[in-house]
Amino acid sequence: MERFQTHRGVVALLDRANVDTDQIIPKQFLKSIKRTGFEEGLFFDWRHLPDGALNPDFELNQERFAGASILVVRNNFGCGSSREHAVWAVRQGGYRVVVAPRIERDGMVVPGFADIFANNAVKNGLLTIQLDEPVVDEIFELVARFPRLEATADLDEQRLILHLDEEVAFHFEIDSTVKDHLIRGLDDISLTLARERAIADYERAHPDAIPISPDR
């Protein structure tokens, strides 16, 4: 698995909440049997006009965000389908980090990312950072004010640093297991296969009554 330790890059803004996986990568790009080439599908329907030309009104097509590798969005990014293609598209589209707000409202928490998307991100070395809503609002304002603003995501220190004349740093929380996996670039399957004995023990204690086979 790809490691993530620190990353510095230009910050891009996508001022939308509930960006679903159908928007991140529309279905026509899910037919590939390869793991590469998904950048072409990233935000395809938003990036293009009906005649196929680039849509100048779509935020991420703007020159100020060209080459950006840190994407800041609104809450519940990646909701919808389980397609890992969405993470592949974001990653292959040049992003290493996505930042979204965690909102607490009326005693309810609205997370920055949908569960399956966040899970898939870890497997592909894409760092998802949740920050409190006012902090994300502040980042939106600063990036709007200072085009080509760069930031560094330091996973070990759990800090997102904005490189203004005077640096501004925000601390972020992250699941310790996710952090460990990303920093060490661990291969989940190898780790699990190292516990093969425990799996075999479980299987002996829980035999399958009616296995699936073509003949039944």
Partner: protein, 466 residues
């Protein structure tokens, strides 16, 4: 303290716990389809690994398959994906219900149908609507392709332990109001991220009275409320479903009796505590229609398109974008919104009972001349059963198209698509922008409401037709 249904199943599937509270969970059933599996099989091949438990794995093709002409897949890329699944299943020894097989269908329809889905199991699939199987009292959730590869190789998954949320549906449904309306109302209430991080357990008197088909509709859309899994405690309705029909992988005779005795232990204990609870009142529930671009943007059919500033869980800016995309003006009565297309299908609402209920509404009537209606059974067994009951002839006599089984226009990966601007009353699960075709406008409804809209040419309160 007692345990919830979720806790009982989780605890009995732990191979190993980790200090962070997560666990390596054993996976009883792994369902596979053509879209999210090719890279996983390729990963196994490159690492020289095998499928650990082919007997716990079953594959079908549903997302890409044509529903009109079955002889040939004309789209070369779709065809390559379907052929990759055939090759992978044969190479790795996985049972495949492919195109032309009598059991082919949408993966979440054939699991229960074949008796593969049973109470107390853990079930995963590279598809977010795996939550459907929770209707049988299982922990069932969607996973990404890396996790598909992990399950193929190890028959386990490392998972963080989610919270539990009890959802109680009180009261009873009026005629014409369905389980689709129950789940749409819930999502409207909690928002599309309201269940993120939780497993929802649906209960209450209204749920107890539902058939298995109706329960599956509710659990199916758990993910639209952000929850990876939703579940319903098994009861006699569940056991009767499993014991009935031709379900080759369900236990029979004495084995079934023993299994039922064990399954009766699964429901949440009376003193079990949920991390969170939500209540939805069914006495006042009206048929629901979505107006926007996510399933939480929903109103009563008797209601109007809302003002951007009065939409729960959505900022006015995002609500305005949704209204623009949908081409709707605030204040418009939902019953004044005309439609072009009706899609009756998907893993949410394409079981034979769904088709029967829609057929009842449409029988002896005509689909409005301005409307095209597509009826796509969820599986080939559903299609044959419907044809044996004459449902296909009710639909075709009304002017609807009767198709072969597949996901079809729910996500439009096959040729069944909306044109830009086309407005659809759909029994599927997602009204995202472009979901049913670029520029297409989707309104989610129940099968009854879809059939009623087909006849009227616009949304109508199906209760008036009962």
């Amino acid at each position: 303290m007692g345990k919830t249904l979720f806790e009982k199943i989780w605890d009995s599937h732990v191979v190993r716990t980790f200090p962070d509270g997560g666990a390596l969970l054993y996976i009883d059933r792994h369902l596979v389809h053509e879209v999210t599996s090719p890279q996983a099989f390729e990963g196994l091949r490159m690492a020289g690994r095998t499928v650990r438990q082919p007997g716990r794995t079953v594959a079908t093709m549903d997302h890409n398959v044509p529903t009109d002409d079955r002889d040939e897949i004309k789209d070369a890329i779709s065809k390559a994906q379907v052929e990759a699944l055939e090759k992978n299943c044969s190479e790795f020894g996985v049972t495949l219900y492919g195109l032309g097989d009598a059991r082919q269908g949408i993966v979440h329809i054939i699991g229960p149908e074949q008796g593969i889905t049973q109470p107390g199991m853990t079930i995963v699939c590279g598809d977010s609507h795996t939550s459907t199987h929770g209707a049988f009292g299982t922990i069932a959730f969607g996973i990404g392709t890396s996790e598909v590869e992990h399950v193929l190789a190890t028959q386990t998954l490392r998972q963080a332990r989610p919270g539990t949320c009890g959802v109680t549906f009180t009261g009873s449904l009026s005629p014409g109001v369905t389980s689709k309306d129950m789940i749409l109302r819930l999502i409207g209430q909690i928002g599309t991220a309201g269940g993120t991080g939780y497993v929802l357990e649906y209960g209450g008197e209204a749920v107890r009275r539902l058939s298995m088909e109706e329960r599956m509709t509710i659990c199916n859309m758990s993910i639209e409320g952000g929850a990876r899994a939703g579940m319903i405690a098994p009861d006699d309705t569940t056991f009767n479903y499993i014991a009935s029909g031709d379900r080759p992988f369900a236990p029979k005779g004495e084995a079934l009796d023993l299994a039922i005795a064990a399954w009766r232990e699964l429901p949440s204990d009376p003193d079990a505590v949920f991390d969170r609870t939500v209540t939805v009142d069914c006495d006042t529930l009206a048929p629901q229609v979505t107006w926007g671009t996510n399933p939480g943007m929903v109103v009563d059919v008797t209601g109007v398109v809302p003002e951007p500033g009065e939409v729960r869980h959505v900022s006015p800016g995002d609500a305005r974008k949704a209204l623009d995309y949908m081409g709707l003006i605030p204040g418009t009565r939902m019953t004044d919104v005309p439609i072009d297309t009706v899609f009756l299908g998907s893993c949410t609402n394409a079981r034979v009972e769904d088709l029967r209920r829609a057929a009842k509404v449409i029988k002896g009537k005509w689909v409005a001349s301005s409307v095209r209606m597509l009826v796509v059974p969820g599986s080939e067994p559903v299609r044959r059963q419907a044809e044996a009951e004459g449902l296909d002839r009710i639909f075709t006599a009304a002017g609807a198209e009767w198709r072969f089984a597949g996901c079809s226009m729910c996500l439009a990966m096959n040729p069944d698509k909306l044109a830009p601007g086309e407005r659809c009353a759909s029994t599927s699960n997602r009204n995202f922008e472009g979901r049913q075709g670029k520029g297409g406008r989707t309104h989610l409804v129940s099968p009854e409401m879809a059939a009623a809209a087909a006849v009227a040419g616009h949304f109508v309160d199906v209760r008036e037709m009962m």
